[in-house]
């Protein structure tokens, strides 16, 4: 070992107890640590952060020459425009369920969580750290996506405050819902190497049946019914209400918006996710 410096000796009496506010102070530092790691990991940056933006650019370019999906009363829903809310939904979904699911599964199986469990770090601080990471990265991702849509593809964003309000609650509702589902999903993989292999296919299938990559009206009715049992299709629906012209309701199931359905799906799945996560989360892998 090089250049060893002695430790201060006789400082044992300098010990103090835990102070109030410990959980929140630890949570704030967890957010800092999570963000540092997130933005230094190239796989998370490419497959989670930039992925929806790249996909949107590809879809919008590839289908840009196709006729509009719907044209009515002087309004139109272009292919590019239709994919914008889908990619916004995909962004929160990937950051929450997929990225958090893989991250926590890896941290549980590689010993990171056991090392944290050996410290006075509260479990709640750990989760608030993950939630903070999700909040910051998802907001940045959504801002980037909207900027690309407007700047590079000339998509017009809504002017009605009600639409923006809907966008906000669907976005934050989805964030919380997908965060707890990510924690729950993280309990499935048993090894570090299987984390991605288990989580990604599950996430991919749900995205395909939920109208993220394939437009929802293209799917057969029975598949739409199945997809509507899960929260992702509802998040897409809510985002389409917020970002598409009013006439787009003709492309929805029953040709009508159903924001109550969105709120109910997010609420029910947030509760399911919280219960499953609380019942199954362990710092330590069982031997």
């Amino acid at each position: 070992m090089t250049a060893i410096a002695p430790l201060t000796v006789g400082a044992a009496s300098a010990r103090t107890g835990l102070r109030p506010g410990h959980t929140l102070r630890c949570a704030a530092d967890r957010v800092r640590i999570e963000l540092l790691q997130y933005f230094r990991r190239s796989d998370a940056l490419v497959f989670t952060f930039l992925f929806p933006v790249l996909l949107f650019a590809i879809f919008a370019s590839a289908f840009g020459s196709l006729p509009a999906m719907l044209e009515l009363e002087g309004q139109q829903v272009t292919q590019a425009h239709y994919y914008l809310p889908a990619m916004l939904a995909a962004g929160v979904f990937l950051s929450g369920v997929q990225n958090l699911g893989i991250e926590i599964a890896v941290e549980r199986n590689d010993g990171t969580l056991q090392r944290l469990a050996a410290t006075p770090l509260p479990v709640l601080s750990y989760f608030l750290g993950k939630l903070g990471q999700l909040l910051v990265t998802s907001l940045a991702q959504a801002a980037l996506l909207l900027a690309v849509a407007v700047g590079a593809f000339g998509i017009e964003l809504p002017t009605d405050p009600e639409r923006w309000f809907t966008l906000a609650w669907v976005f934050f509702g989805a964030l919380v819902c997908f965060a707890v589902l990510g924690v729950a999903v993280a309990q499935i993989p048993r090894t570090v190497s299987s984390a991605s292999a288990v989580v990604i296919p599950l996430a991919l299938i749900l995205q395909f049946v939920s109208g993220i990559y394939l437009a929802f009206p293209m799917l057969p009715e029975w598949l739409q019914t199945i997809a509507n049992l899960f929260p992702l299709a509802w998040v897409g629906h809510g985002m389409r209400f917020a970002l598409l012209p009013e006439i787009a309701h003709h492309l929805e199931v029953g040709e009508a918006w159903n924001l109550q359905g969105v709120a109910m799906a997010l609420g029910i799945w947030a509760v399911i996710g919280t219960v499953v996560a609380a019942l199954t989360f362990r710092w330590i892998k069982r031997g």
């Binding site: 070992m1 090089t2 250049a3 060893i4 410096a5 002695p6 430790l7 201060t8 000796v9 006789g10 400082a11 044992a12 300098a14 010990r15 103090t16 107890g17 835990l18 102070r19 410990h22 102070r25 630890c26 530092d29 967890r30 800092r32 640590i33 540092l36 790691q37 230094r40 990991r41 941290e107 590689d110 010993g111 990171t112 969580l113 056991q114 090392r115 469990a117 050996a118 410290t119 006075p120 770090l121 509260p122 330590i284 031997g287």
Partner: protein
């Protein structure tokens, strides 16, 4: 003296199905003492330590660390314990100073971050990412994370595996400094010289059973250190244990081949104990 022990194992037993991994292990470690659990791989050292750390529940028997049953560990107790696990998670993307700063904020009366980094000999690598360090350097990060919280009891599970001889010597000095600070240390190792250098007392464990426990210079009992006289002659190989080796040699006729007088070291004591155990339990693996 009837002071409360810092660490107490009382008949600790851990079974997985029919397999007994730790079998009725008892010892006590006084405050400020350094104690080594010595044994080959798979002897049950880590399982014993993990029961004391509160990471595994004993099948039977009781544990107490700083007067608390580790199964009921709370944050206040965790803040007084330092743990260096045998295998730990990879904070690859963080620098040495970033991960230590985070842990220093989680503990209520942490050591100075830069002083701790210097103490493990990583001062010149403080700004490097942990993932870019060598295996031995990463192990020193583990040790730094174990002592950053100024623990009253420190668990070190095979801390120097993978160290070169020079790094091991420097590490020993660090542990002596930590011990001089009043810290009680439980060290597991399969290096005899490490136990001899650092520990006041040692227990030898094999096949899950504690075979001997004593001061490191007395372990195995007085007989185990009785000098051995060995020689060969026409009638074969001879070995005599005696406290008067010179007298035995004087009685030998002629100049026998391979004559030697051996004073058994800790290593000899250890090997004879481990060997006896292997003879006792040939069926253990099949049980």
């Amino acid at each position: 003296m009837t002071t409360a022990p810092a660490v107490l194992a009382d008949g600790l037993t851990k079974r997985y199905g029919a397999r007994t991994v730790v079998d009725d292990v008892s010892f006590r470690i006084e405050p400020g003492e350094t104690f080594a659990l010595l044994g080959p791989n798979g002897a049950g050292k880590s399982t014993t330590v993990e029961m004391l750390e509160g990471f595994r529940t004993p099948t039977s028997g009781a544990a107490s660390v700083l007067g608390v049953d580790p199964r009921h560990a709370d944050r206040a107790w965790r803040s007084r314990i330092g743990v260096v696990l045998q295998s730990t998670g990879q904070a690859d993307a963080l620098t040495v100073r970033e991960i230590l700063t985070h842990f220093a904020r989680v503990f209520p009366s942490a050591r100075d971050v830069d002083e701790t980094i210097a103490a493990v000999g990583l001062a010149e690598h403080a700004k490097r990412r942990v993932g870019k360090l060598s295996g031995g350097q990463q192990r020193r990060v583990d040790v730094a994370l174990g002592i950053i919280g100024r623990p009253e009891v420190l668990f070190l599970d095979e801390p120097t595996t993978g160290f070169d001889p020079q790094a091991r010597r420097a590490f020993w000095q660090l542990i002596r400094d930590v011990a001089a600070d009043g810290t009680t240390i439980l060290l597991t190792t399969h290096y005899l010289d490490e136990a001899e250098q650092l520990a006041d007392r040692a227990g030898i464990i094999a096949g899950g059973r504690l075979l001997a426990i004593d001061r490191t210079d007395r372990i195995g009992g007085a007989d185990a250190r009785t000098p051995i006289v060995r020689w060969s002659d026409a009638s074969g190989h001879h070995e005599v244990r005696t406290h008067e080796p010179a007298a035995v040699v004087r009685q030998l006729r002629g100049e026998p081949a391979d004559l030697e007088i051996v004073r058994p070291s800790l290593e000899d004591v250890y090997l004879s104990l481990i060997g006896d155990d292997a003879d006792d339990q040939p069926e253990e693996a099949a049980a």
